[in-house]
């Protein structure tokens, strides 16, 4: 596969267009409003993920991009061209289905060659492309295998090969790794990312697994109830969640209920958990507003009575008692209770240092910039 690709098929004036664009798209199924006012723009060669729980509309969005659903309202553009009513067999997209949908009555070669044959390519050219793509997905030599003879991971790769061999402008993936066990899933995530870099195609990936989305994506759109709650890079979405839902959906988070005491240029003063706490500046945090203060467990440092004092940058300090200690392999999770009856979850690396025991009294501290003020 040549890489990085030049999109020889697009006309010059569409060269700067986003690969996929949705403008105020709605989708209704009878009374069900599955997708509400979604607008997004996916760049060329981007690995873009739609992340959210079941029923959030992410698969519907994907199916609209691939052509199996038509937007009820709004516009869908593919490479700058309005594509609402173009049928799937005329779009320059290919979809990898959740259950793969490999044709059981055809062998690996015929499955992969299916799309090429429909385009009436010559037999030799087809053969060359099929063997090439099989090598790319590390399945060289498997052309004559029948589908039921393949393992889960192998079937995955055939599905990827079948889609990619057609060199689509956009590759769509509908939770393709769901059926694989953890180890294989992680391996495939890496491989997918590699393939995407080599081939340079735009990938649109649907998943409910936030680790997966964070691992592979350039940007993530977090969806809930048919709407996009937040769109940004993995870091943006993880470290600067804009709503409680996003904060809770990606990773664990501590959410302290509180009230804004003052809003300053570079920081916000929040009263929560019986303390005055300092957080980054937040526009919508007017004094008196009820807010949540969100802090990730891994950003909390625990200081016991015998430990060295923390640097001054750890401005937020709360006394708490250890209620539970759980060993989670790579890290240790502490469940703490504050005098204000809030529960905090903290994570510390299991690096061999002393584990604080249940019942122990500690100071929980974090740096001001590590918190996020959430008004939604």
């Amino acid at each position: 596969m040549e890489a990085p690709r030049t999109r020889a098929r697009t006309a010059p004036d569409t060269a700067d267009q986003p690969a996929v664009e949705l403008r105020r798209v709605h989708k209704r199924f009878g009374k069900v409003h599955a997708v509400r006012d979604v607008s997004l723009s996916i760049r060329e060669n981007e690995f873009f993920s739609l992340l959210g729980p079941s029923g959030c509309g992410k698969t519907t969005v994907l199916r609209m991009i691939s052509g199996f659903e038509t937007p009820t309202e709004g516009e869908l553009y593919l490479e700058g061209r309005l594509a609402n009513t173009i049928p799937p067999y005329r779009r320059d997209t290919n979809l990898i289905f959740q259950h793969l949908a490999l044709f059981p009555h055809l062998d690996v070669y015929d499955n992969i060659a299916f799309g090429l044959r429909l385009r009436r390519l010559g037999r030799d050219e087809i053969r060359r492309k099929v063997l090439e793509i099989l090598d790319l997905v590390h399945l060289g030599g498997y052309e004559s295998r029948r589908i039921h003879q393949l393992s889960g991971g192998q079937k995955q790769r055939v599905a990827i090969a079948r889609a990619l061999v057609n060199q689509p402008a956009v590759l769509l993936l509908d939770e393709p790794l769901g059926a694989l066990d953890l180890r294989l899933r992680v391996q495939m995530q890496v491989e997918l990312k590699e393939i995407q870099h080599r081939v340079g195609t735009t990938f649109v990936y649907v998943t409910h697994d936030q680790t997966e989305a964070l691992t592979m994506s350039d940007r993530i759109a977090v969806m809930r109830d048919g709407m996009v709650e937040q769109l940004g890079t993995g870091r943006d979405v993880y470290e600067r969640p804009r709503t409680r839902f996003v904060a809770m959906f990606l990773g664990d988070s501590n959410l302290l209920i509180g009230q804004v005491e003052a809003r300053e240029e570079s920081r916000t003063i929040v009263r929560a958990a019986g303390h005055v706490l300092i957080a980054p500046a937040e526009e919508t945090a007017t004094p008196g507003t009820a807010v949540y203060l969100c802090v990730r467990p891994e950003r909390l440092r625990l200081v016991g009575p015998d430990d060295a004092p923390l640097p001054a940058s750890y401005e937020n300090r709360i006394r708490a008692q250890v209620r539970d200690v759980t060993f989670k392999g790579a890290f240790i999770e502490y469940r703490l209770a504050t005098p204000s009856d809030d529960t905090l979850i903290a994570q510390a690396h299991a690096d061999g240092t002393r584990v604080i025991e249940r019942g122990g009294s500690v100071v929980v501290a974090w740096r001001a910039p590590d918190g996020v003020v959430l008004t939604e």
Partner: protein, 298 residues
């Protein structure tokens, strides 16, 4: 995604109508052209005049009058309903335990064997099966030979060309149709319901009476309806095993068509359909609440 949508991709509504017309059109047109037209011709014939040797397209209700006033026809209907009811009752009595027993078989091999034994007779013509019963039940046939050999009877028992013979053979023909709906419902039943009853202290009999039996009622009802309708519409078995003594509407219909008395045949046909419908509808009304109650639990 929770809502399954018809994935007709990006095509106008008018386009879809055209496609549907092309797909459904032929079958629908076929039925209209053949079935509905033929039935129409039949119904029209019911008000025509029969001279004794030919049919004239003169509108008259004489065939209807004859059918509803001559007590012969009332007797025929009565005998037919009796036959159908007895057959249905026997089929249910045999069919329900059969279906139940099949659901209890653990080895897949024996399950397949059971299915084959019960359902494969359907692959043979009703004539073959009727003839088989003639062989078994005839005066010189198997049953009489065995009974005589065991000195249980002095003279051959009359088992064919009467109500008994027809019933035995008809039950045989219809039993698979009885077993099927009951089996379907029993297989679909949630096994954990029975386990829950057991856990709460119910004996097997108790579980059967309080859980399995009530929940299987829709299947039993469907089986009864199907068997009854098929019994009412049966021709071959009553004809071959009835010996002329068993008169049912299907036999009359064939006879009248052969005798060229098409109006009367048409009236009998309409009476047959009407009778079956009436009984089916009224039994549906009768059991409406009981059916609704059990299907709610599915």
């Amino acid at each position: 995604m929770t809502v399954a949508a018809a994935s007709r991709p990006a095509r106008g509504a008018r386009g879809q109508t055209l496609v549907l017309a092309g797909l459904l059109g032929p079958a629908v047109a076929f039925i209209v052209a053949l079935l509905l037209t033929a039935l129409g011709v039949l119904f029209i014939n019911s008000v025509y005049h029969f001279t004794g040797t030919q049919v004239q397209p003169r509108i008259t209700l004489e065939a209807y009058r004859r059918f509803f006033t001559d007590s012969f026809y009332a007797n025929v209907v009565w005998q037919e309903v009796r036959l159908a009811v007895v057959t249905t009752a026997l089929c249910l009595a045999i069919g329900y335990p059969t279906a139940y027993a099949i659901t209890k078989i653990r080895t897949p091999g024996w399950v397949i064997a059971a299915y084959i034994v019960i359902f494969s007779p359907l692959l043979t013509s009703s004539i073959v099966r009727a003839y088989g019963w003639l062989v078994i039940l005839a005066r010189g046939g198997l049953v009489n030979w065995v009974l005589a050999d065991l000195h249980l009877i002095g003279a051959p028992v009359r088992l064919i060309y009467n109500f008994t013979g027809v019933t035995i053979a008809l039950v045989h023909v219809l039993l698979p149709f009885t077993v099927f709906p009951i089996l379907a419902v029993l297989l679909r039943m949630d096994p954990t319901l029975r386990e829950a009853a057991s856990d709460l202290g119910a004996t097997r009999l108790h579980t059967f009476l309080r859980v399995t039996w009530p929940l299987s009622f829709p299947g039993l009802y469907a089986a009864a309806q199907l068997t009854f309708v098929l019994a009412m519409n049966a021709y071959v078995t009553p004809q071959l095993l009835g010996g002329g003594r068993i008169q049912v509407l299907p036999l009359l219909i064939y006879g009248n068509i052969s005798d060229l008395n098409w109006p009367l045949a048409a009236v009998e046909a309409i009476a047959l359909i009407g009778l079956v419908w009436a009984i089916t509808l009224s039994s549906n009304l009768l059991f409406r609440r009981r059916l609704a109650a059990t299907t709610e639990h599915e």
